[in-house]
C-alpha cells in the first residue's frame, strides 16, 4: 500500500534558508553529496545498509503543498519569489546506492546524490533521518541473527521503539536483516512481513485461576495457540498446561508453543522442556523473551538451552547498546570541483566516490577499497545507479528477495566480523592513492 509520507517540512530550517540563498544567488550547478558513517560504534564490526527504498520514495514524491508554502510564508524568513519557486521544486537528480542488506564499513558511502545544489541540499535532513534509522536497526538485527544460529527470531519491540514510525521501520529493517516475523500488525500490512504473537500476562491475571485462562484462550482460538507460563510460577504453570493438554485430547484444539518472559530463561526452558517431553509433548515449541539481546541469545544458544524462538524487543527496536550512528551527508563536489570539509575530527574524503569490494573464491569478503568514482579497479562496485532524472531505473526489489541477499551476506561474513565481542581486527578498508592525492591537493588551497 502507498503510505502517507511525512510532510516535506520534516526538515531542518537551515536547509530551507540555504535553498533560498542558492536560489537568490543563482547557484544552480550540480552538487554531489554522499551519505556515510564516520566511525562505527565500538559495539559494531560492520553495518548493514538499509532504508534505500524509503529514501527513493521520498525523492520521487518530493514536493511542497500550498499549505506548506503558506506556513513558510508566515515565518517572515522567505521571499515570495523563493516560495513561488519552492512550489515547483522536484528532485531531478541521480542516486547511486549500495543495495539494501549490503554490509558496509566506516567512511564508505552507501548513497551518492547528484543533483542541482538546491535539491541535493534540501533533502539532507530527511535522507539522513530515513537511512540512519534503518541502517542502525538492520545492523543490530544482523548481530542477533548471528547469535541465534538458525533459531526463529521475532520483533517484539513496538512499545519501546521511538514513536510510531520507528516501530514500523524497525520491523522492516529487522526482517530485512534476517528476522522471521514481527508482532507489529501495521508492519505486516505495510511490508508483508509475517506476523507472530502470543498473549500477555494481563490475560492470565484477568482470570481467577491460571488454568481457566489457559483453557479459555485455547478454546476460543481458531488456530493453534501459544501460552504464557511465567505470570506466577513457571513450573506450576507447566503442570497446569499438561492437565489442560489431557483435557484437549481428542478435540481439534492445539497448543503449538509456550512463552517464558522472565527469570533464568535457560533454566526455565530446560525445566519446561523436560516436563513437556516426559508427557509426550515434544511438538510444543518454547519461545523466550524479556530483555533479550544478541549477547543473552548467544549465551543461551551456547548453553544448549532448548529454546526454539526468541522474541527481541527493546534492545532491537531502540538499538539500546548503540542507539545512533555517526552518519553524515556531506558535499563532495560542486560546480566541477571536488570539495572537502576540514573541521577538526570531521574531515571528509572529497569527490564522487565508489566502493570496490574484493572477495575470495568462496565469495567471502577480503577487503574494500574506497576510490574515486571514475577510477578503474578490479573489484565489485557496490554503489549502483538506482535513480536518474528523478525516476527509478528499475522497480524496487521485493523485501523477501532483499532479505535473502542480506541473510546470505551476513551469515557468510568472515569469522572475525561475525564475532559479537568488541575489539579484534577491523575489516580492511583502504583509500586509493588517487583519492588521497586529491585530498592533499585540496588542503593546499586556502579557501
Amino acid at each position: 500500500m502507498s503510505r502517507a509520507l511525512p510532510s516535506i517540512l520534516l526538515t531542518d530550517l537551515y536547509q530551507l534558508v540555504m535553498a533560498q540563498t542558492y536560489f537568490e544567488l543563482d547557484m544552480h550547478e550540480t552538487a554531489v553529496f554522499e551519505l556515510f558513517t564516520r566511525r562505527l560504534p565500538p559495539q559494531r564490526r560492520f553495518l548493514i545498509a538499509a532504508g534505500l527504498e524509503q529514501a527513493l520514495e521520498y525523492l520521487e514524491r518530493l514536493r511542497f503543498t500550498t499549505e506548506d508554502i503558506a506556513y513558510l510564508s508566515g515565518l517572515g524568513t522567505f521571499t515570495p519569489r523563493f516560495l513561488d519557486h519552492l512550489l515547483t521544486v522536484r528532485f531531478t537528480g541521480a542516486v547511486h546506492a549500495m543495495p539494501e542488506g549490503t554490509p558496509c564499513f566506516a567512511d564508505e558511502p552507501i548513497l551518492r546524490i547528484t543533483a542541482p545544489i538546491l535539491e541535493s541540499q534540501l533533502i539532507e535532513s530527511r535522507i539522513l533521518n530515513i537511512c540512519h534509522f534503518q541502517t542502525l536497526i538492520a545492523s543490530k538485527a544482523a548481530r542477533v541473527l548471528l547469535a541465534a544460529q538458525g533459531r526463529r527470531l521475532v520483533d517484539f519491540g513496538m512499545r519501546r521503539a521511538h514513536e510510531a514510525d520507528a516501530a514500523l521501520f524497525a520491523a522492516r529493517a529487522a526482517y530485512l536483516a534476517g528476522f522471521d516475523a514481527t508482532a507489529t500488525v501495521e508492519a505486516g500490512r505495510t511490508f508483508g512481513i509475517p506476523l507472530a504473537g502470543t498473549l500477555a500476562h494481563s490475560f492470565i491475571e484477568a482470570h481467577d485461576l491460571e488454568i481457566d485462562a489457559f483453557r479459555n484462550f485455547v478454546r476460543s482460538s481458531a488456530s493453534a495457540t501459544t501460552l504464557l507460563l511465567d505470570t506466577y510460577d513457571t513450573e506450576r504453570a507447566t503442570r497446569r498446561l499438561l492437565r489442560l493438554l489431557e483435557e484437549l485430547r481428542g478435540t481439534p484444539q492445539r497448543v503449538q508453543g509456550v512463552r517464558i518472559d522472565s527469570g533464568d530463561l535457560g533454566a526455565e526452558a530446560s525445566r519446561v522442556r523436560s516436563l513437556l517431553d516426559a508427557a509426550g509433548h515434544g511438538e510444543i515449541q518454547i519461545i523466550a523473551s524479556g530483555g533479550l539481546d544478541e549477547h543473552a541469545i548467544e549465551q543461551l544458544v551456547a548453553a544448549g538451552a532448548p529454546i526454539d524462538a526468541f522474541g527481541v524487543g527493546t534492545a532491537l527496536d531502540a538499538a539500546t547498546d548503540a542507539p545512533a550512528l555517526d552518519m553524515a551527508y556531506k558535499l563532495e563536489w560542486y560546480a566541477g570541483k571536488a570539495r572537502r570539509k576540514r573541521s577538526s575530527g570531521k574531515a571528509t574524503w572529497p569527490g564522487a566516490k565508489q566502493v570496490h569490494r574484493v572477495r575470495d573464491a568462496q565469495g567471502v569478503l577480503l577487503r574494500d577499497r574506497i576510490v574515486l568514482a571514475e577510477e578503474q579497479d578490479p573489484g565489485e562496485a557496490l554503489l549502483q545507479p538506482v535513480l536518474r532524472q528523478g525516476r527509478r531505473l528499475t522497480p524496487a526489489a521485493s523485501l523477501p528477495a532483499m532479505r535473502e541477499y542480506a541473510r546470505r551476506e551476513i551469515l557468510t561474513l568472515p569469522m572475525q566480523l561475525r564475532q559479537l565481542a568488541p575489539g579484534g581486527e577491523p575489516h580492511p578498508v583502504s583509500v586509493s592513492s588517487a583519492l588521497q592525492a586529491l585530498a592533499v591537493s585540496l588542503d593546499r588551497n586556502d579557501a
Copy 2:
C-alpha cells in the same frame, strides 16, 4: 493543526488476539491498567512525564476502518463476528494522569486507564509507544536544561532521531522540558515551537572562498544571520568575518551570531569571543554544537566558556545514554478484584493507585507516597482525572503553559536530584501499608 494519526493497526498482534478472546468469552468487565517505570536507568535521577496529549488524542480518535478490518480478515486469525464488533469499538473509559511536565520516579503510575477490558487491553502497545518516547526525551532534556544554567537551548536532532515521528515528538518533549527552540520545521508548524537555524558546512564548501560564502549568505538574507566558523579553520574564519563586518558597516545587513561545531568548543569560543570583542562586536552571539550532551554543557558552563546558546542533537533526540525506559502498562484490577503479576523481577503493585507528593514550605519536593486510589492522604494527588467516558474533561493546556510548569518543577527540584552524576540518594518514595497489605493478601492466593 490536526495530524493524520498512525493506523490503529500500529499495535502488537496479541492485543487483537486477546481482544477477540475477551469478546468470545463475554469478558466485558472493567479493568484498571497503569503505566509506570519499573526502575530508572542509572543515568537518571528523575523522569518527566510527557506524551499525555498525544495519548488522549489516540484514545479519542480510536477506531478501525473497513480497510483495517479487511486486512485483519485476510490473516485467518479472527472470526467475522469479532471483526464486525471491532468496527464499533471506541474508547469509552476514563483516564487519570500526571500533568505533562511532572517529575516522577520508579513505580509511580503516570497514567491510569479504567475501561472495559477489551478496550483497556487493546490500547497497551500504542499508549506505551507514545508515553515512553516523550517521557524518555523530556527526561533527557530536563538534564540538559539543568546543565545549561539559563543559556539558550535548541533541538538540532532531527537527522538522527529514530525516523520521522521521533523527530517531531522529540522536538515537542524537549520544548516541554524547557528547550527554547527547534530546528525541525514541521515541529514549528504542528506544535508552534519557535524555530531556529543557521547554515551547514556544505554552503561554505560550495564557494571557492569562505569569505564569499559569508558575504553571499549575509547579503541574500532578509533577516539577521548566523554564520558557521569551523569549516576549515575557526580563527581564520573569524578574521574573515571581521573583514566582512567592516564591509557591511552602514548597510542594513546584520550578523547576529556565529556557530562553532567542532574542536575544543570552549577554547574556540573564547578565541572567537576575544576577536569579536576586540573589534567592538560584543553583540554577536556564539552558538556551540557538535556532539553535545548535558555533561559537555555542564563542563563548558563551569569553565565559563563564552557560549550563549547550545544546539543539542543526537544525544537529545535519541537519548543516547539511556535510549529506553523500563516502562510497563500493567493490569492492576479486573471485575472487582485487585490483580498482581508475580513474574521474577517484574512483580507489580496491585490495585488502582494514586501518587501523593509532599513538599516543603517553598514548594520543594520532600517525598512521594504510592497509595491505593481510595486512601486518604495529606499530600497533593498527582494523578488527576483528564478523560471520562472517552471524552476529555477539559481542553488541553497550551504547550507554552505546560513548559512553564515543567521548567519551574525541574529548576526547583531538590539539589540531590539536580545533580547530573549517577549515584547519591534517590528521591524517597514509599508504599502505603494498605497497598503492601493488599499485595501480601493476593500472594496468599495461588491463582
